[in-house]
């Protein structure tokens, strides 16, 4: 029983950055119909923006979260306008779009490395207090992250399923011509979605950065699992992304507790291939 409770709790903590990343990734995938590998850099840049505010400019960690997230969103929009939108307008196919996004990812990541170097950086954590919560130990930072992630996830969920923007996005993803004929501005909606997705990725980067360290490869390291979670969850399903990343986090934590961490990853990847076999990549 305590093993189960432990894995649920550790799993939730570990999954919190993944939840945000998967939600953002799935929005772009759904709207534009391709897997944006360069989304990894939204995560990485989010963490580096936090370094900029928190370490270089010396702001409090909690104060640095907001601006880093917004800058990450702005960067996402800039990349969309400069590269992905022209490419989509030229009719580049989905597989080529993925390769293009790999190129954009390289460009952004190694451009960053050329500027900041490859050393691992650390965010200045706020004072850490250990707390017990239902008999489980956690730090105030972990709990704050968990609460914030679920707040943002809830907000995103509400935005996609209950507001005009969400409706416009679903309309555009399903039938662009029909959506345009009903007065939806595809340009404005896409910019808004890329901004929201970039913000979610940036926030995910800030949290994984503060729990471990900030490296130029941190986004790249989570993009595979983000991709798989998204595909399994059903492309474009924010609800599914939430559930699948929580399940993935808990499953990893459970297998890590009973065997080696590497086996947990292998088992998770095998499970994903299994799900793909069973139902393929399906749009929600």
């Amino acid at each position: 029983m305590s093993l189960l409770l432990d894995s649920v709790f550790i799993g939730l903590l570990q999954a919190s950055p993944l939840i945000l990343a998967a939600m953002g990734f799935t929005l772009i995938y759904y709207l534009n119909g391709f897997m944006n590998i360069a989304y990894a850099e939204s995560v990485t840049y989010g963490a580096y923006f936090a370094i900029l505010f928190n370490v270089v400019l010396g702001a409090n960690f909690y104060a640095a979260i907001g601006p880093s997230m917004l800058l990450s969103g702005v960067m996402s929009v800039a990349v969309y306008l400069a590269i992905f939108r022209p490419a989509l307008n030229r009719g580049v196919g989905p597989t080529e779009m993925i390769i293009l996004s790999v190129g954009v990812s390289f460009l952004l990541r190694y451009g960053l490395v050329l500027v900041v170097g490859t050393e691992n950086l650390f965010l200045n954590e706020p004072p850490i207090r250990y707390m017990t919560f239902l008999g489980l130990g956690a730090t105030n930072l972990q709990l704050a992250a968990l609460v914030l992630v679920f707040l943002v996830a809830g907000l995103l969920y509400w935005m996609i399923y209950n507001t005009g923007l969400g409706e416009q996005m679903r309309g555009l993803a399903n039938n662009q011509e029909l959506a345009m004929a009903s007065g939806i501005d595809p340009h404005r909606t896409s910019v808004a979605i890329w901004f929201i997705a970039g913000c979610a990725g940036g926030l995910s980067g800030v949290f994984s950065g503060v729990f471990t360290q900030v490296t130029p490869y941190m986004g790249w390291n989570v993009i595979l699992i983000t991709m798989l979670v998204t595909i399994v969850a059903g492309i474009g399903s924010v609800r599914g992304a939430l559930v699948a990343s929580v399940v993935a986090g808990i499953l990893t934590a459970f297998i890590t507790l009973v065997t080696k961490p590497l086996y947990a990853e292998v088992a998770l990847l095998l499970a994903f291939i299994g799900v793909l076999t069973y139902r393929g990549a399906r749009t929600a």
Partner: protein
């Protein structure tokens, strides 16, 4: 000099991999993002058999290639008839599984410490790396020749038909699933052969060799050169690996303190090249290679071409 021969030998391996990827993606339309997984099974399979079980190099490569082909068969059974994006994600996951298992199964692979040393398949003499380079040239040239022949064969046309419209090809009575599976298994097995051939080049195997960067380097080269052109793979590898890893890293006068940034600068340029090519010339530098007809190249023929009898 030895280093230059090593670089050229490695470049030949890359050309071979890109050529196989040209068959998989350019002809059959299978987006295999697990190139390093199949190559790595060949590499580590050969290494483990050679070092731990004293199997001679050539049989070790053959067995390792069979293992890679077997893995490809299982994967093909599972996901090859799914959408392209599912294949892409699953092959990428497969390559990650291979890398993780190599790290975790220490008693076989040496884990992060490494596995070695793997020698050349013939005696110890001073020019052995040149001879081995010659063998690689022969293997890769054979590969390119076969794939050039493949394009104009009946099998090649079936593959192109599958890529362009699988339902249509199936409605003409072609067993598209079996054809795709067969070509995937054979090409992945050959990637395993190239992996086995890389083992004596690297001599000492570490899990770092299995990083996904190999997959992306091969993809970038293929897309750059032209995925649908038979020589796209060669041109692409020359422009990426040849230009950056051999010419610039060996000859460019870079001050020592900046030399450490050079690999990063290289990958930055790869990204730039890739973005540029997809934006402005999506078919690659060489473009699409049309069917080779007797009246000339790249001209669509109104009448169906009679099947070539022999040669």
């Amino acid at each position: 000099m030895d280093y230059l021969i090593f670089s050229f030998s490695l470049m030949l391996i890359y050309i071979g991999l890109a050529q196989l990827l040209h068959i998989q993606f350019g002809l059959a339309g299978i987006p295999n993002f697990g190139v390093v997984g199949f190559w790595g099974l060949g590499l580590y399979g050969t290494g483990v058999l050679y070092v731990n079980y004293d199997v001679p190099l050539v049989p070790a490569i053959a067995i390792a290639a069979l293992i890679a082909a077997g893995a490809a068969y299982v994967l093909a059974r599972l996901i090859l008839q799914k959408s392209g994006q599912a294949i892409l994600a699953a092959t990428l996951a497969f390559a990650t599984i291979v890398a993780l298992l190599v790290i975790s199964e220490k008693q076989l692979t040496g884990g992060v410490i490494g596995l070695g040393t793997i020698g050349y398949p013939f005696g110890d003499f001073s020019e052995r790396n040149v001879v081995y380079g010659g063998i690689l040239i022969a293997v890769v040239a054979a590969l390119i020749w076969v794939s050039a022949r493949l394009r104009d064969s009946r099998l090649g046309r079936v593959l192109i038909a599958i890529r362009d419209n699988e339902e249509l090809a199936a409605s003409l009575g072609k067993d598209t699933a079996a054809t795709k599976r067969m070509i995937f298994v054979v090409t992945c097995g050959l990637m395993g052969v190239l992996g086995g051939l890389s083992a004596p080049l690297h001599q000492f195997l570490v899990p770092y060799h299995l990083a996904p960067s190999l997959t992306f380097a091969v993809w970038i080269a293929l897309v750059l050169g032209g995925k649908g052109h038979n020589f796209g793979a060669i041109i692409g590898v020359f422009l990426t690996f040849g230009l950056f890893d051999i010419l610039i890293e060996t000859y460019a006068p870079v001050p020592t303190e900046q030399a450490i940034l050079l690999p990063n600068f290289k990958l930055f340029c790869y990204g730039l090249l890739l973005v540029g090519i997809i934006m402005f010339r999506p078919a690659g530098l060489l473009g699409e290679d049309g069917p080779h007809t007797r009246s000339g190249r790249d001209t669509p023929r109104p009448a169906p071409e009679p099947a070539p009898k022999e040669s």
